[in-house]
């Protein structure tokens, strides 16, 4: 290993520009098929073994035995655990300071919750774009907490990491925005004549019931189990950019995190940052905003005008946001491997806008679930290298 790679093993987070993942990694074929109970091909098993060896996993023969075995509840659970173990090791080997398990235990950020909360019913696939769809649920009754949907995964991750853990947590505003609101609209059917007002009030009631009866109980379970940092994922935060809706988003976030002895941050991407910036300073207890910039940026080296993707960052400062930032320096929708120098320049440009480098964490734009593990690993490794270059430059 070259000498300049030696700092990849560092785990301190009190340094400048700590590096963090945002959430998901792709689920390997052996994880997907294996968890469905399907028999795995030699190639699929080999893929797992190659990664396990590459990441220095000790019990490779145990992995081979599990993947080659017959379907059973135990085998499915073991497959979840193996994919989480490998994902954690991948993130740590890349050198990240803050990790999770690549969300390997979850079906998908929305579906994982909809499947495990009473009152939701998954109705079927609707188009997201082109030939991409998502399984959309309807709220058919008051949402009720019946079982933890993140705790087992968190406990496993906590036991298997050497770095700091941040738990990605699908936010209530997004859950409501992505669901049909049958129950509450029906409840309010006769009481509010104005249809626009009825929809808004129904949405509001859905949100606060969900926060009270599902989201906060789940957060409570996580905090009690030892979670010290939860990232509230709200990709839908600016879907409805009216003042009334943005105030609702803020109110819901504040209510969600209120009173817990835990660090909270919010992740939002591919959104309207002109709108979000106006309200960010009202998010109480939000220690960090993890935002997407690389997707909007050029791939040229340099700071200043080259960094057109960062033009909205200043708005957060202008509107009085004084928390930390997770700066997205890696585009998750392309296989282009950002060189460390590009990561460095993006970081230095962010410093020139924000001023205080101690408020800046280094992130990918979003989860890496659409990239292969190979691409993800290379991107993350360069992100870590680029952060170190930025540290040395300052």
């Amino acid at each position: 290993m070259p000498r300049w790679l030696s700092f990849l093993g560092g785990s301190r987070t009190d340094k400048l520009f700590p590096t963090q993942e945002i959430g998901s990694l792709a689920k390997p074929t052996w994880r997907v098929k294996g968890f469905k109970g399907e028999k795995l091909s030699k190639d699929e098993i080999a893929e797992a073994v190659i990664w396990a060896r590459r990441l220095g996993i000790e019990d490779v023969s145990e992995l081979i035995k599990t993947l080659g075995g017959k379907d059973s509840a135990e085998r499915r659970q073991a497959i979840l655990e193996w994919s989480a173990t490998l994902a954690i090791r991948l993130l740590e080997t890349a050198g990240l300071d803050v990790v999770f398990d690549g969300e390997q235990w979850r079906s998908e950020m929305y579906e994982q919750v909809a499947r495990n909360v009473a009152g939701f019913a998954l109705l079927g696939l609707v188009k997201s774009f082109d030939f991409r769809y998502f399984n959309k649920a309807a709220c058919k009754d008051t949402p009720r907490y019946v079982r933890s949907y993140y705790q087992d995964e968190f406990l496993f991750t906590k036991e298997h990491v050497e770095r700091r853990v941040k738990v990605p947590f699908t936010g209530p505003y997004t859950l409501v925005d992505w669901s049909f609101n049958e129950f509450y609209e029906q409840q309010l059917n006769e009481n509010i004549r104005d249809l626009r007002q009825r929809k808004f009030e129904a949405r509001r009631e859905f949100l606060f019931d969900l926060v009270k009866d599902v989201v906060r109980p789940e957060l409570g379970m996580l905090v009690e189990a030892g979670a010290s940092w939860v990232q509230i994922d709200e990709p839908a935060a600016t879907t409805n950019p009216s003042d009334r809706e943005m105030r609702l988003l803020v109110e819901v976030f504040n209510e969600t995190v209120k009173g817990f002895n835990c660090t909270f941050s919010m992740h939002n991407c591919y959104s309207n940052y002109e709108v979000l910036a106006k309200y960010a300073c009202e998010l109480r207890g939000c220690s960090q905003l993890a935002l997407e910039f690389a997707n909007r940026d050029s791939q040229q080296l340099g700071t200043g005008s080259e960094r057109r993707g960062f033009e909205k960052l200043a708005l957060f400062e202008d509107h009085g946001y004084r928390g930390n930032y997770g700066i997205g320096v890696i585009d998750v929708h392309t296989d282009f491997i950002e060189p460390p120098e590009l990561v460095r320049d993006r970081m230095l440009h962010a410093v020139s806008i924000i001023g205080d480098p101690s408020r800046i964490w280094v992130s990918t734009d979003c989860g890496l679930r659409t990239r292969s593990w190979e691409v993800s690993f290379q991107k993350l490794r360069n992100m870590v290298l680029g952060a170190e270059l930025a540290r040395r430059t300052l």
Binding site: L123, V126, F131, Y133, R196, T239, N240, S242, Y270
Partner: protein
Amino acid sequence: MIGCYATGMFPRPERLIAVTRAYDRKAATEKQLEEAFEIAAKEVLAAQSSVGFSHVTDGMLKWQDLLRPFAEHLSGVRPGGLARWFNNNTFYRKPLVTGDLKRGKPIVGVDSHIMPLPRTIAWKTILPAPYTFAQLSENQFCKDKTELMFKYAEALREEIEDLHRQGFEYVQLSDPALVYRPDGLSVSKDELAFVSEALKLAVAGLPVATCLQTFFGDFAAILPEALDFPVDHLGIDIYETDLERLKEYRFDKGVALGLVDSRNSLVEDSHKPAALATEILDAISGKSLNVYVCPNCDLEFLPWNWAKEKMQVVASVAELLRRQSNG
């Protein structure tokens, strides 16, 4: 006259979704995909006929978004980056205007299923309105978005003429951008005058019935100017419109009332939208207008089975209104 129809893209039936996903991961061929589209188009047409729609569309199943055929086939335009489709968890590719916008060849034919359209029911086509096309495009060529709107309107006219020759009798121009105003500011009167001129350029004098369909926003915000738009019918999203304000105006052209909510899976009791329609129609015109009952926006926001139920509600509401109208 009381008719009923759909107002946008249909959701893809489940079997078609499965093939499109397989195609995406290279597990289905182009031919298999094409066959799946043909089968699904017939299913969508059969569903419209069986509930008694007065006009049918091919479902627009191949369209990746409302603007895509124009982004792909107009000269001077190409599909750009993904952007959010108004306030939905759905995305479209921004048309990127980099050259002189012209209709060099047919636009929507490539993505349409004309062959299975029935000869016994009127055909309807749905196209982006000039204002929405200009607003949602990334303009790197025209002087401003107004010039782009007029350039597009010219190309649109040629496309409509062609579609009419193929047998389409009814043209809906979808104009969500005209009413979607999360900042609370309405389109200015000057801008509405340009919109009217662009519509004139696109459809005036053509031998087809025309409707400017608005959705995702308050139709009342473009009144009274919209009453003079050069179209036969005005489409209104009942779930997003200030109905009290709407009822202050008198209409002398037809209306397409978006009475069935495509953005919620809750299936309406048809008597309620029918009662609401009666209340609105009594206020805006009396019973002399041409009226179309429709979903408030594209049914594609629902899974296919729910879309079918909503189509049934649309047809039932129309039937209730017809009975009332006949005394």
